[in-house]
């Protein structure tokens, strides 16, 4: 590496930069929560005055600060910093994981903070085997090596937890990568279409460009259900999905808020609706059972020729959101004055005419608004999430605990045991474990 390269590397490898970036990102992010994002230019001119609105626009704070060149640059620096900072430190952490701890010198062991000395009533070789078995029984499976006239045993737990922090770093990179994949290979679109219609296309949310689908979606019915209190309980689109390439027969299903429909990597979310000034009228001759269906609009005249019926809606009562509650209807057939009556939405009445009586039912038509998303990066993001949980759990709950036992001959066919250990985190809890272990060893009849 040349000197300049080295300097650039050192710059991006510095923790100081990471800390600065973390606090700069936190600080700048506040801006976009105070200044509303994604509103039309008029909104900003009105709320902040023309001058200020221009400044905000010039600084790219509106309409989309989080996608602005400077914020993205900050994110890029942060990402680069995260990568290089981790690459710079992983080798050291890895060395701790892969370290041959049997190479530790007996002198170093004597200086460890946690230690216990014991005497064993047998020769060093037998003693070493005894200690190994005792440690094994206590859950510490040790390796051993002969050393400077004695033998050393070593066991460790959770060595890989030294990598926990880097798992978290990698998880952040995965999440960012997933976001990028979604941005490049996916789309966010929407579609609004009325009951009875079929679509095989959607519109990109930003460019409004038409995006074709490889299957068809028909809206059978849109429905709003209410709680007894009058609050909305559910928005539901009943749809039929037709895709001869993938499905043997059309799939009838519902799209509900929180229960999207997924097909071919594209997900449909219930997001809005539109009451239409159109009504579906169903008529049934009560004597013959013959039925007729017609689509009506206000003050349009409709005929059912076979029965010589003419009818129409003269007036509607709708609420502010456009939902129709009541209709004023007229219906005529030869032999009598026209019948006029009122009927509530989705309810039926019987209309008496000289020739026959008819069931009359009327229902307002709705259009459903669906968000349509293709995001192949979402699984990369979710993998990142899983890794982040794993990394956090590892860092918090697992510590690298190490245990050495050094057995040396002590004359008279007896041996001396030096037990020592340490933990990189949760030291207090390990102190206790260590004391318990030493106690356990001492309970062995040959050890004192």
């Amino acid at each position: 590496m040349t000197k300049e390269q080295n300097q650039i590397w050192r710059f991006f490898a510095s923790v100081k930069l990471a800390l600065v970036m973390i606090f700069v990102l936190a600080g700048t992010s506040i801006l976009g929560t105070i200044v509303q994002q994604g509103r039309p230019p008029e909104f900003y001119a009105q709320s902040y005055g023309a001058e200020m609105a221009r400044v905000l626009q010039l600084l790219d704070i509106v309409p989309n600060m989080y996608g602005s060149w400077w914020f993205v640059t900050l994110l890029l620096i942060f990402t680069l910093n995260l990568i290089i900072c981790s690459l710079d430190r992983i080798p050291t952490a890895w060395r701790m994981v892969a370290l041959d701890n049997l190479e530790s010198s007996p002198e170093r062991l004597k200086k460890m903070p946690l230690k216990a000395e014991m005497r064993i009533n047998e020769g060093a070789d037998a003693a070493s085997e005894r200690v190994r078995q005792l440690l094994d029984a206590a859950g510490w499976s040790a390796q051993s090596r002969d050393k400077e006239g004695g033998s050393m045993l070593f066991a460790q737990k959770g060595a890989w937890s030294r990598l926990g922090a880097y798992m978290i770093h990698l998880s952040i990179l995965l999440i960012l990568l997933g976001a990028l994949v979604g941005e490049v290979f996916g789309f966010k679109a929407s579609i609004m279409f009325p009951e009875g219609e079929t679509i095989d296309y959607v519109f990109d949310r930003k460019s409004r460009q038409r995006i074709g689908l490889d299957f068809k979606l028909k809206l059978d019915n849109f429905e709003i259900n209410y709680y007894p209190t009058g609050m909305v309980r559910e928005y539901r689109s009943d749809v039929v999905l037709t895709d001869p390439g993938k499905l043997q027969q059309p799939l009838s299903t519902s799209i509900i808020v929180n229960q999207p429909l997924q097909h071919r990597g594209i997900t449909f979310y219930q997001s809005s609706y539109q009451p239409l000034e159109e009504f579906l009228i169903q008529l049934r001759n009560q004597d013959t059972g013959r039925q007729h269906q017609a689509l009506a609009a206000p003050s349009r005249r409709i005929q059912w020729q076979d029965e010589e019926l003419v009818f129409g809606v003269t007036n509607i009562r709708a609420d502010r959101s456009g939902r129709i509650h009541q209709y004023q209807v007229w219906l005529n057939s030869p032999g009598a004055e026209p019948s006029t009556f009122t009927v509530r939405d989705q309810q039926g009445v019987t209309v008496q005419r000289p020739a026959h009586d008819y069931d009359f039912q009327i229902e307002q038509r709705y259009a459903t608004g669906l968000q349509v998303v293709k995001d192949p990066g979402v699984w990369v993001v979710y993998t990142g999430f899983a890794l982040m949980c794993l990394g956090l759990g590892t860092t918090f709950m697992v510590s690298h605990r190490r245990l050495w036992a050094y057995i040396t001959p002590d004359g008279d066919g007896k041996a001396k045991l030096l037990l020592c250990g340490g933990s990189n985190r949760n030291k207090i809890s390990f102190d206790q474990r260590f004391a318990e272990l030493a106690e356990k060893l001492r309970r062995d009849p040959a050890i004192s």
Partner: protein
């Protein structure tokens, strides 16, 4: 509603608990009976609150709400927040065997509960869940976020203790402090409590607030991140605590500096929790 009565009583129980802990601290009491009373009153308050929350859940079920979870509006979430603070404090008391810290944690639980009960701004009516909230992620997301929030609140309380005691220690020159400060744990212990509660809270907040929130957002709105003010503020809070943990690990910061960061982090937490709902527009305006 029976649950309203229980939750109202909880307020007084938290108040009693807070007062006893403050008394223990101020009078430097070492009386075993008073200490036990404090713990029992707190546990009792927690039990009252738990029954209140569960009963409210049951009442919603009885009213035919169908899917419901008692964490769906500001009132319910504050009640749950107070519950978390009390629980986390009892955990700390058990681990550190020190009751002087209660004087800085339980008043927070009381304040949150009193806010919930008596702030006119939000109503306590049991209202059914709007469609966007009808998801199992509601329970996971809210519970985990609030455990995180409550940890940050406790860390904040401990940071205030730390700074007060530190001031006293510096002024008096006594390493253990004088007067009521002598009854408090050693500065190093408080520092350890601050760091551990922040780390513990950080895990809950990351997993519950950010990750569960993102997964839920993706299943409800089709996007796991939309820079909505609440999302952005949780990210800001996350950055602050992530920064705090990093300065501790890599630059060895402790004591006063960490205490100030704990305070900064909690201010950001309040912005995330309260500020965004009422001061800024966005997707989370319901809770």
């Amino acid at each position: 509603m029976e649950s309203a009565l229980l939750l109202n009583l909880t307020t007084f129980a938290y108040l009693a608990s807070a007062l006893i802990y403050v008394a223990i601290l101020v009078f430097g009491s070492t009386n075993r009976t008073i200490g036990l009373t404090a713990t029992l009153v707190t546990a009792g308050a927690l039990l009252l609150s738990t029954s209140g929350i569960l009963l409210r859940w049951y009442e919603a079920f009885e009213l035919g709400f169908g899917y419901y979870a008692p964490f769906s509006n500001m009132y319910e979430s504050l009640v749950f927040f107070a519950w978390c603070v009390a629980l986390i404090y009892l955990g700390l008391e058990y681990i550190y065997k020190n009751q002087a810290l209660g004087a800085f944690a339980m008043p927070l639980a009381f304040l949150a509960q009193a806010f919930a009960e008596h702030w006119p701004q939000w109503d306590q009516d049991l209202t059914p869940l709007m469609p966007a909230l009808q998801s199992n992620w509601l329970i996971a997301h809210v519970i985990a976020s609030f455990v995180g929030y409550a940890c940050f609140a406790v860390a904040f309380g401990m940071a205030v203790v730390y700074l007060a005691k530190n001031h006293n220690v510096e002024k008096s020159g006594q390493p253990a402090g004088t007067g009521i400060f002598a009854a408090l744990p050693h500065l190093k212990v408080i520092d350890d409590v601050i760091y551990k509660t922040i780390f513990f809270g950080f895990i809950w907040f990351t997993v519950g607030g950010l990750i569960f929130g993102a997964i839920w957002a993706n299943s409800a709105w089709g996007t796991y991140w939309s820079w909505d003010p609440k999302e952005t503020w949780s990210l800001i809070t996350w950055f602050i605590y992530a920064g705090t943990l990093h300065v501790r690990y890599t630059r060895g910061w402790s004591g006063k500096k960490i205490a100030w960061l704990a305070i900064l982090g909690f201010i950001s937490t309040i912005c995330t929790y309260y500020g965004v709902n009422f001061l800024l527009a966005g997707l989370h305006s319901y809770a």
